[in-house]
Symmetry: C2
Subunit: 460 residues, 2 copies
């Protein structure tokens, strides 16, 4: 394999090909922190043409490559495997254009999400994708994993926010579909091939993102609920009453909510009592007084009907931030939940209670206690389970329990974190043999030598 | 070829295979009314399994098939070509389920759009796709062509309204991805392969559609504008002020607007003067008084600033309907515009004025007068041009003019009507050689014998 590295050195100059100690530890593992592995070499192209040239050489030499963005993934997808060359897009950055007439932004794949959000805001627009890793994760990674986050209920996942993109196929072919138009049905919509396929079908190098007009008003409320059915009733009631301005509905089961409060002394529950479930609700719009009045009226009605047991409306940006801190507290309490299994699954709302009951019952049968903190975006069918136990040998069995329950409830083993290497062997719980076979046909059609992110998503 | 038909007769019974006079004229051509051709036979499967069985036989025999929904397409895609067997989905109909908890509807592909809209409304929901052919077009056709329509600015195209689908590949493999969840990244999102690919990669048999809470309030206004720049300013101003409740923004250039009024005596302009451009604006929400007040305030400001020259707000559902009748009048005046070239193109808002100027200048150089009525969804970058001339021999040249101008302005030759056979040879104006090559790779991977809707979208 050494000769490909030499070839790349000859082609791009020794300085462009990092090996040994030059290839910093950060290229060895993603945020899953599992199976760290040094790549053969790290290449950091600064242009689409360089990405294409690198892939042409690797394709010719049957050299496997792993593509890296911000390395904030949780599924092992960007962690090198033995004898892979890493292509890091960390130098393929920058915003190329903001088109005010079309309300689009053209951006290079290595640009961090937060830079894009800020540039949009500075220009008077909203780029609605948002997630905890915003400072490090990249637009290319967001596209490759079809990232979700907190505002999916209103704006959809990354797939809905991308109008056009450019990708390089495994053989170095540049496929440029930099569409800036909302409607375009001139032939197959090729960008779909590269969204959510985790870099297995091509390397995304640039994208055209859709921008929205800024929503200057934000109203946040926290609701205490008597149970899951009430949470669904509240969600549907708010959706019907607020006509699309509901931008977040984050459910937190009591176990999660109180665990966070216990471990983060700076935070406090606004409620005197303990409740089975909490929902963080946010409405964004253009008229703060009207938005507040609408949400207040809706919550008042829900309190009267008994759907909501208690509720508080944030009276300031600081209060809103404190409510969100409970929801985002999972990031802060992670060190206390080791070894952590972070599940990111989908099941339909109808099946959610049964799914959680089945998982809870199975966990209760383990000899040692299992901690299971549940929260998520129920309007998106998406649940996060933060699971830990003291018995390391039970971890694999806990995964089996969750993914088998997902399969039994016709759910998805990955709602928004992706499959990568770590969930690959559970994929059959969510996809049929025919579906997997079509995925393999696509992979073979676009990457016949299987050099691109091999072993991710699909078994090797 | 006759023996395949015999085989299908043996397999499905003589009554299931229509040939000769039994194969009604309606199976011979779509709404483009061009190149009518009788199919070898018409098969009308009533289940996914039957579709699969038919395709298995055809795949084995290398027998080409054309897939038919409501035959309302304008691109020739569903019109049979010589020696094709037609698979009509007209008997694969019915709504299987409305899931209130997940807010989804499961439906068979042959179900007409209007039936779906009505069923959603009856259950208290909105299915937001809407277009003129709603009574005849089918959900399967809407998916295959990634249909657009009037509410794309708010809800997106059909691609955004489909959560899951089931399709049968050319070889009879059933790929069932009937996802009902908003977030699902468990492997490649295979449904994208069948949305907007016009039946060339598979036959859509069932789908899971996303439903929205009903929007009970609707406010319609017609604005007279001083020019195109003002239309864009109005659009952006309304988007920014109304925070997502703007559900339609239909532009009508004076030529179109007054042609419709002249030919439809029942309709009347609400304005005393003639203006260069008109915009039909609609806001939908849950609070009629508030929605009206917001739109009135926004239009008042636009009148004060001179962006809008004049405006009327519909005071009743009847008045709203009358305003829409002008926009929808293209359907009524079509008989007076023969032979009609109906262009459906996209160019970015920034390029729109230059594109129209280039087309207008080129039309003016034709020896005989060319009628060019322009209207469209400028918020979606989508323009419709209804073009006619008395010299039939100029029709091809008029197409060249428009599509070359589309290419020069980096636009799309098909915004929402699809490519079919009629626009296939212009596709290179919108897509690069590399893009076309990837489309061919996909086609070969999923339909190796090229039996499915051959010659549609891609050159044969």
């Amino acid at each position: 394999m050494g000769n490909v590295v030499d070839l790349l050195r000859t082609r791009f100059g020794a300085g462009a090909v990092l090996t040994g100690a030059e290839a910093d530890a950060r290229y060895r593992v993603d945020f899953s922190h599992e199976n760290a592995c040094a790549p053969l070499a790290v290449l950091r192209p600064t242009s689409t043409d360089e990405v294409a040239a690198i892939l042409r050489e690797c394709h010719r030499a049957r050299q496997r490559v792993v593509v890296q963005g911000g390395l904030t993934g949780l599924a092992g997808g960007a962690t090198p495997q033995a004898n892979e060359i890493a292509i890091s897009l960390e130098r393929l950055t920058g915003i190329e254009q903001i088109d005010r007439a079309a309300q689009t932004m053209t951006v290079r794949a290595g640009t961090p999400l937060q830079v894009v959000q800020q540039a949009a805001a500075d220009a008077g627009y909203l780029f609605p994708l948002d997630l905890g890793a915003r400072g490090s994760c990249t637009i290319g990674g967001n596209i490759a994993t079809n990232a979700g986050g907190n505002q999916v209920i209103r704006f959809g996942m990354m797939r809905n926010l991308v109008l056009g993109l450019e990708a390089v196929l495994a053989d170095g072919t540049v496929v440029s579909s930099m569409n800036r138009m909302l409607k375009n049905n001139a032939g197959y919509d090729l960008k779909q091939l590269f969204i959510g396929t985790e870099g297995t079908l091509g390397v995304v190098t640039r994208a055209v993102l859709r921008l929205w007009p800024k929503l200057p008003s934000k109203v946040t409320a926290l609701c205490a609920l008597r149970g899951f059915d009430e949470a669904v009733e509240l969600l549907h009631g708010l959706q019907a009453r607020l006509g699309g301005s509901l931008s977040a509905f984050e459910a937190m089961w009591a176990g999660y909510f109180h665990y966070v409060l216990e471990h983060m002394p700076a935070l406090r529950s606004p409620f005197s009592e303990r409740h089975p479930l909490y929902a963080l609700v946010e409405v964004e719009g253009t008229d703060h007084a009207a938005d507040t009045a609408h949400l207040e009226a809706a919550l008042g009605e829900s309190l009267d009907s008994g759907v909501v047991a208690d509720a508080v409306l944030a009276q300031s940006a600081r209060e809103s931030k404190n409510l969100w801190a409970i929801r985002d507290g999972i990031g802060d309490v992670t060190p206390t939940l080791q070894p952590l299994l972070a599940f990111d699954v989908s099941v339909t709302v109808e099946s959610m209670a049964a799914f959680l009951a089945a998982v809870g019952a199975a966990f209760a049968r383990f000899p040692d206690p299992v901690t299971n903190l549940v929260f998520g975006h129920i309007g998106d069918s998406n649940l996060h389970l933060a699971v830990t136990t003291h018995r390391a040998r039970d971890l694999g069995k806990l995964c089996d329990v969750v993914y088998e329950a997902v399969g039994q409830h016709a759910g998805s083993i990955s709602a928004e974190h992706g499959v990568g290497t770590l969930r690959r062997d559970y994929l059959h719980h969510s996809r049929s043999a025919a579906e997997l076979e079509v995925m393999r046909r696509l992979k073979a059609a676009l990457d016949p030598h299987g050099i691109l992110n091999a072993g991710r998503v699909l078994p090797d």
